[in-house]
């Protein structure tokens, strides 16, 4: 974990993070709701946010860091311009998800986009399933994925 610096941008962010944490302080088990809100606010949880959240919620920085690092949703780096999340669950594998995933990972057509694997989006009857910038799509094929991500390569 990096040590927080005290640049003006960091101070401004720290104040916002503190405000978010304070909003949830009174609910039971507030840490996940706080982290979710930081993700929706900033797109990621910066390591420098950890001690601020810990201070407001009266937790140790280690406890907060432990939670951030446990869950897939709490990324600690700024999000890329686009994200494709493809399901590799069994039901989607039964209709070709592995090839779709391997193809997307190998493709340079997606530019700066991040290709992630996920395990089940609850669309198991109409796979292969995936999220393209957060929107759920079913019956995906390499062609359909190319259509949905047109222009991403630059």
């Amino acid at each position: 974990m990096s040590t927080p610096t005290s640049s003006p941008a960091t101070a401004e962010r720290a104040a916002l993070v503190r405000a978010v944490a304070e909003q949830h302080r009174e609910v039971r088990g507030p840490l996940l709701p706080v982290l979710h809100e930081l993700i929706s606010e900033f797109g990621y949880v910066d390591p420098a946010d950890v001690p601020v959240v810990a201070d407001v919620l009266n937790l140790s920085a280690a406890e907060v860091h432990g939670v951030v690092s446990f869950y897939h949703d709490f990324r600690t780096t700024p999000p890329p311009p686009h994200v494709v999340a493809l399901c590799r669950g069994e039901a989607c594998q039964a209709v070709g998800a592995q090839a779709l995933y391997d193809d997307a990972r190998a493709s340079d057509r997606l530019g700066e986009a991040e290709v992630q694997q996920v395990f089940c989006l609850g669309n198991c009857a109409l796979g292969p399933s995936g999220l393209v910038d957060g929107a759920l799509h079913g019956r995906l094929s390499p062609e359909r994925l190319a259509e949905l991500t047109r222009g991403w390569g630059g």
Binding site: Y71, D73, C87, Q93, G122, C124, A125, L126, G138
Partner: protein, 512 residues
């Protein structure tokens, strides 16, 4: 004014339902109602047109076809007109109890819910003592629909009889098993049922606070549930005077963060408390020391969504359905390589073959079915010789398999079962919470051993090693994740040994 019903269900949206709804909304004299899905996911977007009080269905409608739905020209297209949806041969033989309103009602309308029998279970429950409600649920024979199949009435009785200042009801809506989507469909299509079921549970066990733990992968369900809870507060079905009874019950939604293990009940409780989702050693069981150490009734979505019907119609009526000790109905989910995937609710006792042939209609690719995984990623792989097994907790357990949450994932004859066995171990290695060694380390060693088998490296010896490893995981893991991962692995080896008989020369055997 013409009324059309277009599902807002996530699966329907994934294949274009929002665009279809938008196209209808542009027409004059058309009212669009966004419902859940009827469960015929193979026909989505499935548009229903109300004519003389009955709803006619149109399958796989595209935005450019909305005009031909209204003028009747789509009726002439082969396979696209479904007739009266309630009478459709895929739907009519089903026994909809838990999912009775899904796809029928407007999930955003509390008035529609009440008009379709909503709140009658709660009203009856509030006139009974907590012990009487527990007795009714016990009589119904309802067992936990999350997969473990523990009798719901017994669990509730324990919570009721454990004295505490504060008790909780917690709904496990972390439906992470591949091949399962019934929780999602029921909540998206009929969210008030969950609110009602949890309120009845709270009355039965003496809880004043409830939490729904829903996975973050389900944004449509989260939105539907939050909207329903808000409406329930506004109309006095939640809060400090539930339905005028003086009972207090507050219900909160908490969103998970992408950890499969949080579907395990003790991990879920840890996560609700704001911690890493690591499993707890049992005992104590959550019914005695659960959320924040207090007695907690932890139930799956479908268990809780079945409770209102049990209270409304009586436990005996529900217990009349089913077979053996598996009473009532199960919501089977047909997934993977199927021609007709979707939600099929039938009494326990239906055979796997009936579901695969009569409902799924074989594979989507048209090739023969080779393997079926029942009960999620921790469930066994079954071969066609086992398709006459009845869907029944005990019959499946006897066959070394599990009904689980009712998810059925179909594979055609192109499947490589050694790869699927490897995937089971890989999944466990990625999603293990890390607390116990058999699961955390065993799954990694399992992947390595299967890689050697797939590469044709000393196969016989590695299969013995793998079997030994599976035994350690089964017996030594803290929870079902490590304890059941061997089930798909060993069943694959048992029923499809030819896929593990690799020779080093096979180019296919190259490890990625």
């Amino acid at each position: 004014m013409t009324t059309v019903y277009v599902p807002g269900d996530a699966s329907a949206v994934a294949v274009g339902a929002d665009e279809v709804a938008a196209a209808f909304a542009e027409l004059v004299d058309v009212t669009v109602v966004r419902t859940g899905s009827r469960g015929l996911l193979w026909a989505e977007p499935l548009v229903e047109l109300e004519v003389d009080g009955v709803r006619l269905g149109f399958a796989n409608v595209e935005p450019g076809e909305v005009g031909s739905v209204l003028d009747g020209s789509l009726e002439r297209l082969e396979g696209r007109f479904l007739g009266v949806v309630d009478d459709h041969p895929w739907l009519a033989p089903q026994r909809r109890v838990t999912a009775a309103r899904v796809g029928v009602v407007d999930p955003a309308s509390i008035a529609d819910y009440e008009a379709h029998g909503g709140w009658s279970g709660l009203r009856r429950a509030l006139g009974l003592s907590p012990a009487e409600v527990v007795a009714e649920v016990t009589e119904s024979g309802l067992r936990g629909r999350g997969g473990a199949g523990f009798p719901a009435g017994v669990k509730w009785k324990t919570v009721l009889e454990t004295p505490a200042e504060q008790k909780f009801v917690a709904c496990n809506f972390d439906e992470g098993d591949s091949g399962t989507f019934a929780d999602r469909m029921v909540v998206e299509g009929d969210p008030f049922t969950l609110v009602e079921g949890m309120t009845i549970a709270a009355h039965a066990v003496g809880a004043t606070e409830g939490y729904v733990y829903v996975r973050s992968e389900y944004p449509h369900a989260i939105a539907a549930l939050r909207r329903a809870i808000e409406a329930a507060y506004t109309h006095g079905f939640l809060g400090d005077d539930v339905a005028g009874s003086g009972m207090r019950f507050d219900l909160h939604v908490r969103v998970g963060a992408g950890a499969y293990i949080c579907g395990e009940e003790s991990s879920m409780l840890e996560s609700l408390e704001g911690k890493r989702g690591e499993v707890r050693a049992k005992p104590p069981i959550p019914a005695i020391a659960g959320l924040f150490g207090q007695p907690t009734a932890v139930n799956n979505v479908l268990t809780l969504c079945t409770v209102p019907m049990i209270l409304a119609d009586g436990g005996a009526a529900y217990a009349e359905l089913g077979t053996g000790r598996s009473r009532g109905t199960q919501l089977f989910q047909l997934a993977g390589n199927v021609a007709r995937g979707g939600l099929v609710e039938l009494p326990f006792g239906v055979t796997l073959r009936e579901l695969l042939e009569d409902y799924a209609g074989g594979t989507r690719t048209g090739r023969p079915i080779r393997a079926v995984q029942v009960g999620g990623p921790l469930g066994a792989y079954l071969s066609p010789e086992q398709f006459d097994l009845p869907m029944d907790y005990e019959a499946f357990a006897e066959a070394g398999a599990m009904v689980g949450h009712g998810g059925i994932v179909v594979f055609d004859d192109s499947v490589d079962m050694a790869r699927m066995a490897r995937f089971a171990m890989e999944f466990c290695s990625l999603e293990s919470c890390g607390k116990c060694t058999p699961c955390r380390v065993g799954s990694v060693r399992g992947v390595e051993t299967l890689d050697r088998i797939i590469a044709g490296d000393d196969v016989a010896a590695n299969l013995v090693l793998l079997d030994d490893l599976c035994e350690t995981m089964t017996k030594g893991s803290l929870c079902a994740m490590g304890g059941l991962t061997p089930m798909p692995v060993q069943s694959a080896i048992r029923h499809f040994p030819e896929d593990f008989d690799r020779s080093p020369a096979t180019p296919e055997g190259a490890v990625r």
